[in-house]
Amino acid sequence: MKTKFLTLAAGLMTATALATVPAKADVKIGLLGGISGPIAAMAPAMVDAAQLALQQVNEQGGIGANEKLVGVVGDSACNPQNGTDAATKAVNIEGVTGIVGPHCSGAVLAAAGSVTIPAGITLITPSGTSPEISNLEDKGTVFRTVPSDDYQGRALARTMKDQGYGKVAVAYLNNDYGTGLAGAFKAEYVDELGGEITQFAAHEEGKASYRSNLAELAKGGADTLVIFDYGDGTGLTILRQALENDFFDKFVGGDGMKSDAVINELGAENLASFVASSPVGEKSESLDMFNAAFKGVGGDPDAIFANTSYDAAFLMALAIEKAGGKKEGVAAAMVEVSNGEGDAIRPGEWKKAKELIAAGTAIDYKGAAGDHNFDAKGDVPGTYALWEVGSDGYEVITEMK
């Protein structure tokens, strides 16, 4: 029996080895995603969006000297164990030039730490938002197309200070989204800007009443409540009960709170003192181009992280083209193709980009999810704005910097 299993394992390996031999001059990139595991519902759309970018590249002349760009899908299952396994296979067995993904921060940290950084492979994640990714000692090889969780919290703190908010109380949902945002907000508002947070409390989701939490929060005499939660979930309950009982005068939310459910449930007339931060760029030309293309292949453009996944794959293709297909040059090229200088390239404009790169002209990718423009840590600044409730839904008050 033991030999049978060993034979099976050996057989699988041999089959694999045989199947990989006829390697054409394809250029491969790894598309690692949490296909099985906690984000299994989100991952297929993200992988499809990345595949769309590769399809466009191949339709418009391919990469390098007419070579085909092939995406190798790997399952990182949203955990470090499978993330490193998938990354090792992509790098060593498939011989990928770069990796798009993994999707979850923990898998990104592990795959980068044990595989891509030592192997010198460039990695770009479309959805790893952990601030830890910024601090990796990555020799400039780790990028992302989604802003760090840190960014929004800090930008919101700065904007609130500018808008003249004083003492605030903070209520946040006890998960990585809520704690990440609240922590960044607190660090900026109190430590950097000298503001005052009277109460800073986590809450669990799904309770019927948060009145006791709110009474506790109101104790310090703050007139503003900052809520880091979801506007179609617990955040709505908290906002409603705070309004009903008059605990606070003003309310501020993170991007999770900018939900239509809040307006529909509470009524715009009651929300005059409510503002929320949320990404802008939602109406850019680039996004329209991506939406049209993604609909064309049967995808849902509103799927979460679909546009960042597309951008990550397209940027990887541009960087590989710019680097002439050499693994070592991809990281440096990645910075060059999206640094705010050069001719604008929008989603799907592969042919134009290819010609410009061949001519040696600088290009600047303006993606579906934003302009990107990587900083020294491979992070992208978000483009956030503060929104208020107008007669016609949410309206921008000011950009957040």
Partner: protein
Amino acid sequence: MEFLGLVNYALFMAIFIGIYALLALGLNIQWGFAGLFNAGIAGFFAVGAYTSAILTTPAADGRIGGFDQNFVVGWIGAMLAAALVAWPIGKICLRFRSDYLAIASIGIAEIIRLVIKSEPALTNGARGISNIPRPFGDLGYTESQVAYLIIVLVVLIAAYFLVERQFNAPWGRMMRAIRDNEGAAKAMGKDVEFRRLEAFIFGSALMGLGGAIFAHFNRSITPEAIDPMVATFLVWIMLILGGSGNNRGAILGAAVVWIIWSVSEIATDRLPHEYAVQAKYIRLFLIGLMLQLVLRFRPEGLLPEPLRGDQRTTKPGVDPN
């Protein structure tokens, strides 16, 4: 696919097998020899991983430590911490019979996971700890993996010989007696509660060591690693398939399951690319199927527990068949 790529992949697999073999050895002490159904492996794995991470990382803001110690200190600390956490848990939970112990230990692993996720001052919360030093991590990709594999192998072989020696000693016989007939062992004057606690603590310490080795290999540890699927149930499958009660079986089981788990993905990648996403589920199916087949056709595992002592089954009037 270059030759060097295959070497790198094989090295990576060997390191992972080594880590999982340590977890399976730890579980073998608990289940194979003491009959304790611990379904909370992930918890002790996590305690070890985080302890070593805190001990060996450079000082960081916002959380305890790091203490910038040598990795050896971190790994010993990981074993001690996992043992220390196991002690009160065992003290309370080992009074349960086997299936209740399983339920309690699942709950405990979940508590440990939630504490790790919600205590930023201790573990940096949901962000996890990164930039953990890897021994010989400054070498090139392949060399660094070779060096790490050697360390893992040294640890694994040492653990194997120590555990094996312990099992063949009177202590091992006593543990099996307690497992097979608790009443009789008690009647012989054995302190059953204390001995079970011993087995629980030894096993947990090995699991903690496995966690520490994992964290240093990946240079990071996050709450996502404490996923019961890959940190608890996969280890159980390894032990059941390899043969519980047999240390070599535990190691073999870790190797076979991990190889199938990892290599099957390469095989399923050969399916047409429209099925690229769906194909990923085939390996989950394969592991489940394999467990079913083993339980049906070879419940004692690939390498069954060796029969010890007097093996003459022929007694007057008893048909040996």
